[in-house]
Structures are given as C-alpha cells and as structure tokens.
Symmetry: C2
Subunit: 371 residues, 2 copies
C-alpha cells in the first residue's frame, strides 16, 4: 500500500489471564499459544506485507521493551515507542498519532492489539485495505467489527446503523452505538440483532484521531499536545535524554482511559464512526476457554500442547512444557504446568484467574502473583 | 509381650494407586502420606513396643530391599526376608511362618501390611494383645476386622457368626464367611448386617498357619515344604549362596494367591477362623480418595501437602513437592505434582488410576508407567 500508511501495534498488555503461563516478565503477547511464533510476532508478520517494516510502529512499556524488540529484531529501533507506564489505549493511540502525524501529515494508521489471533490472513488484509480506502474517501474513524459466531459475554459490541459501503471483506456501516460487555441473555439479543464484536482494531488518519481526542477527550488532549510540543516534529524514540525525560513525565500524568470510552462512544453518537463488518477468524484469545475453542481437538474435545493424556476426560485443555499431564475423569478443565506453578481450573471460569491471582497476593504468595 | 511373639510386616506391595507419587522405585509403603514418616516406618514403630525389634520380621522383594532397610535401620539384617518376586500373601506368609517356626516352634505371629494407617495406637496394641490371648486359648486363625464407618466398596467384608469372647479392644466372633469387594448397594447391606472390613491383619501360631496351608492349599504347601527342607532350621536371610539360590528357585515356582483365598475362606467354612471386631482408626489408605478422607481439611473440605491454593474449590486434594498448585472452581479433584508428571483426577474415580497407567503404557509412555 501507499507510503503514508502505518501499522501501530499496541504491545503493552499484561495478560494475567494466562497465568501461570503468562507472568509479569512473560506477558500474553510473548506467548506461543497457537503457533510456533509469539502472538506479537504473528501480528507483526500479518501487517508487514501491507504496511512494510519501516511503517510498522510498536507501542510498548519499559518493562517489556527489551523482550518485544527481541521478538521483532527486523523493525527499526525508532519504531519502538516506549510508554513509561501503561495508560490504556487512549494515551497510547494519542502518542502513536503524534509520532505518525510528525512523520507524515497525511498518515493513515491501522491500530492493532499485539495479542489477538487471526486465522484468515487474506481476508484480514482485504478488510484493512477496504478500511483504508473508506477512510480516504470519508474522513471518519473506522472500527473493525467481527460478526459474532456465539454470544460471547467477554466482548463489547458495536451496534450497526445504516450501510455506508459495500466491500469484499465486509460491508461498512455507520455506527449507531456501542454496548459494554453484556450478560448472557443480552449477548444473545445483540447477536440476533446483528451487532458486531468490538475487535479493538481501528483505521483512521492520525490527524483525525488527534482532532477527535481534542474534541471529545480534553484531559487526554492536554498530554498529547504537551508531548507534541516537546517532540517538535522529532521521532519520539530518539529524543535527547532531557526531552525524553520531559515526554515521560507528561505521559505519566495522562489519564488511564480507553479510546472507546474517551473518543469512540462520543464520536459515534455524532455520526463520525463507521464499522467494517469483518469475518477473518478473529479471536482476542482472552482466556484459556477462548484458546480451547480455537485449538484442534481430539474426539473427546481435548486439546493442548506437550506430553499429555486426557483419559476418560472431555473438553479439557492441557499445557505443559516438560512434565507429563495425566487427566482422569475430568471435564471442562484446564491444566497448565510451568516450572513455578500448576493451575487446575474449571475452564468455564477462566475469567476468574485474575481473582485467583489477587488471592495469591493476599496470602503472601507474591512470587506467583502478577504484580 | 512374650518372647515367642513375632510381628511380620509384609512390605512388598507396588502401590500403583498413588501414581505419580508412588512408582516402581517408590512404592506406597515408602511414601510419607500422613506423617513425617513413611508408612512402613509407622508400621514398624507401631509394633516395636509390642514385639520388640528382634522379633519384627519384614518380608519384601528384591527391588525394594535396599530402600526398605534404609527406612528401618535398627532392625537386625536377619529379619529381612526377601522374596525373589511378589507372589501375593499366601506364599509370603508361608515363608514367614517357616522362618518363625524354626526360630520357635511355639511362635505366634501377627501379620501386618506395611502400608496401612492406624490412628489409635493404644487400641491397636490392645486388639493385638487380645488376639494373641485368644490364639493361645483356642488354636484358631484370627483376622482383625474393622467396624465400617461407611459402605466402602473397595474392601472385602467378614461376616460375623457367634460371639466367642468379650474384649476391651473389641469382641471376638466366629467367622461365618467372607464377602468379596461389594457393589455400593451390597456394601450398605453388609454394613447394616454388622459385617466387618477385612483389614488383612492376622494373628495365629506359625505352626497352625503352616498346618492350614497344608490342609487347604496343597500347591502353596509344596513350595513351603521344599523351602523348609532347604533351610533346615537355619535363618532364611543368611543361608549360604547355594541354598539361598535354591530357596529363590522354589519360591518363584509358588502360585500367586492370597492367604484369604488360599486358606481363610476354606478354614472359615470349617469354623477355624475368628475375627476380632476392632475400631482403632484403621485405613488401608487405598487411593487418593481414602487419603483425602483421613487428612485434616479446611472449611471447604480441601486438604493437601505443600504450597497450594484451593480457590473457590471444594473437597479437593493437592499434593506438591516444590511447585505451587492453584485450583480454581474445582470440586472432588485430586492434583498431584511430581518432578516427572502431574495427575489431575476426579477423586471419586481414584480406583481408575491403574487403568490410566495401563493406557500410558499402551501409548508408549513407559517412563511414567509403573513396571
């Protein structure tokens, strides 16, 4: 695609939901959950043919910088933007937009979480291309929506309005509104009404998202503008120490808020957001249950990695590095074996792994808890 | 008690049911399941005050000899009788009887499995003493029966006949018959009719059990007599090499059969067996479920050894050496972590661990399978 197109990969997440496989030192995007490559590597390789390595920018945090660069050794050093702390997606995207608008005032950016999964790369590429074309034609914010395959309660939903364009990868709709993570009954209703999963993948002009931040999120905009003043058009990754320190100071002061909440919900109600209805085998791989859904399974519905035996067991997931995992008479159970800890959980309660970690912390098992 | 009294501890069992904690090299009697001592140590120390170390004899197998001696360093070397292969209890007891009858023609022997648990040592001692007194008065075979506390399907049952004597540790009854491991409904009936668990603890004269073997189990008797001829009154553990080899050859030829089946059932039907109805907190600790029943539990019914967290979980058992075991939303589940393997099983199906091991073997995971 054209030179002014950039991919922004957000790779600062902690991913406690895959504990004990994921830890503070080994966040989800570094895990090889579904292939021989880490999720962040998969994401970078998915966008490289579309945007080129020179135009692929990573936003990550201090603690993960070294590990992420090791995963992506062929990306230019200047393309790693480092947050001094994770501030959720609005500041992160604002930061990337500052960088890209300085590189090219016409820059169009595709924003992608580092730790999602896409099974149909061809349709994914087509969806991004068609989103870019629509952004060039109409200067709106595009969010990529996913046609639901089941009533997931762990995702937010996008309510479709009028159709705005037809496409091969999926039609584009005006966004009528957003729905937060619903309860089971509501999720079914949303799915039936044609609502889409909110994937967290966005396409827009850098200038347009900066303008939208100014309009809808003044608290975020203040930080963004100060960083813009500090950078004065230079690349953020290579600022001289004094300016870098100033940038970090400003970033720390920014509010912790998502782009959906800070900008998209409000912009949507003013008709400035469109959604491409995509279908490229997407998952946010949000927890063990989601992972089990995507892995190849035996006749009993059992899946896993490493030496394992699911004996007289159904719908189980076993992850092991060295040791044999032997299950007997288990159902819907995930077993994860690491050098430090063994997790045995009801897979349908995978969302509660974060509560388990809180409890570990409370009991003084700091070594095992993530932060 | 008197000099002619001997304890015979049968310590040759394999105990696959505690896999992966128990293995071929680490059979159940060597495990520290319920205290800081191994089960065989506990058993030896339980009988030492009654019989003395000089009169405590261990019967074990080649593979376990070194490990068992290490557990019991204070027993005389001549008190370790080594089976060249495990042949079940009838040959094992015949062998011990040959040894003890040679030491003392009036020898009375208490036979005890090495891997059982007794929580009330005082009542246990009393039960053995009263059994010995009854054996001296009436020359019968005594089997120690346990008053059931629930309808266990994993034990054989003893059907009580007429009361033969009153005792402090428990009354003694003529044995009317034996029932094999029953199904659930039958177990309840047996318990209601006052039947006793067959503990596998016996008291009798060495001469009497030898005579009974001759009478009821001629195939076993042949081997016993040949060994008697080879030994010619000498201690089995210190026979010169040529005689030791001959003894081993004969032992290998003996049939694999239990003392219950070979002798007691038949002797019982001829009125030659009595049962003491005991109640000393006994368990054969037959599997993970039995172990869970005996361990101290938290308010949620969870028990275990090592670093563990049973979070939003009920009636679980966790055994770990080094790693943390974290459970989430589990019920009736046993998790055992060892350096080689992790077992996760429905505790109510603990009896099926042996099938799991067969399956492991079938799949070529020989390293993990027992044998």
């Amino acid at each position: 695609m054209k030179r002014k197109l950039y991919a922004v990969i957000m790779a600062g997440g902690k991913g406690t939901r895959f504990w004990p496989l994921s830890t503070a030192e080994r966040p989800k995007q570094l895990l090889k959950l579904l292939s021989a490559k880490s999720l962040v590597q998969e994401t970078a390789e998915r966008v490289a043919p579309l945007f080129g390595r020179k135009n692929t920018v990573i936003v990550t945090v201090d603690e993960q910088h070294a590990a992420i660069r090791k995963e992506l050794p062929r990306l230019p050093r200047a393309n790693f933007l480092i947050e001094p702390q994770g501030n959720n997606t609005a500041p992160c995207i604002g930061l990337a937009a500052v960088e890209l608008a300085a590189r090219d005032p016409d820059a169009i950016m595709a924003v992608l979480p580092a730790d999602h999964w896409v099974s149909d790369g061809r349709r994914f590429a087509q969806a991004l291309k068609e989103s870019v074309l629509f952004t060039e034609r109409e200067n709106v914010l595009i969010t990529v929506g996913i046609r639901p395959t089941y009533p997931e309660t762990g995702y937010g939903y996008i309510l479709k309005g009028k159709k705005a364009a037809r496409g091969n990868a999926g039609d584009i709709y005006r966004v009528a509104g957003f729905a937060e993570k619903p309860r089971a009954k509501k999720a079914l209703q949303l799915m039936r009404r044609g609502a889409l999963w909110n994937s967290g993948i966005f396409v827009w002009r850098a200038a347009t998202i900066l303008e939208s931040i100014r309009r809808y999120a003044p608290a975020v905009a203040r930080g963004v503008e100060r960083i813009q003043e500090i950078a004065r058009g230079r690349r953020l990754a290579t600022l001289p120490p004094k300016d870098a320190a100033a940038f970090r100071r400003e970033y720390r002061k920014m509010p912790n808020i998502s782009i959906d909440y800070a900008v998209l919900e409000k912009a949507g109600s003013e008709g400035r957001v469109a959604a491409l209805e995509a279908d490229f085998g997407w998952s946010d791989v949000g927890n063990w249950n989601a992972l089990h859904r995507m892995l190849p399974k035996d006749a009993g519905g059992n899946a896993g990695v490493g030496r394992r035996l699911a004996f007289r067991s159904k719908n189980c997931l076993a992850y092991t590095d060295k040791r044999m995992i032997a299950m007997l008479g288990m159902e819907n159970t995930v077993v994860v074996d690491t050098p430090d800890a063994v997790l045995v959980a009801d897979m349908r309660r995978s969302q509660e792994v974060k509560d388990l970690l809180e409890e570990l912390k409370r009991r003084g098992y700091k070594k095992y808890a993530v932060r």
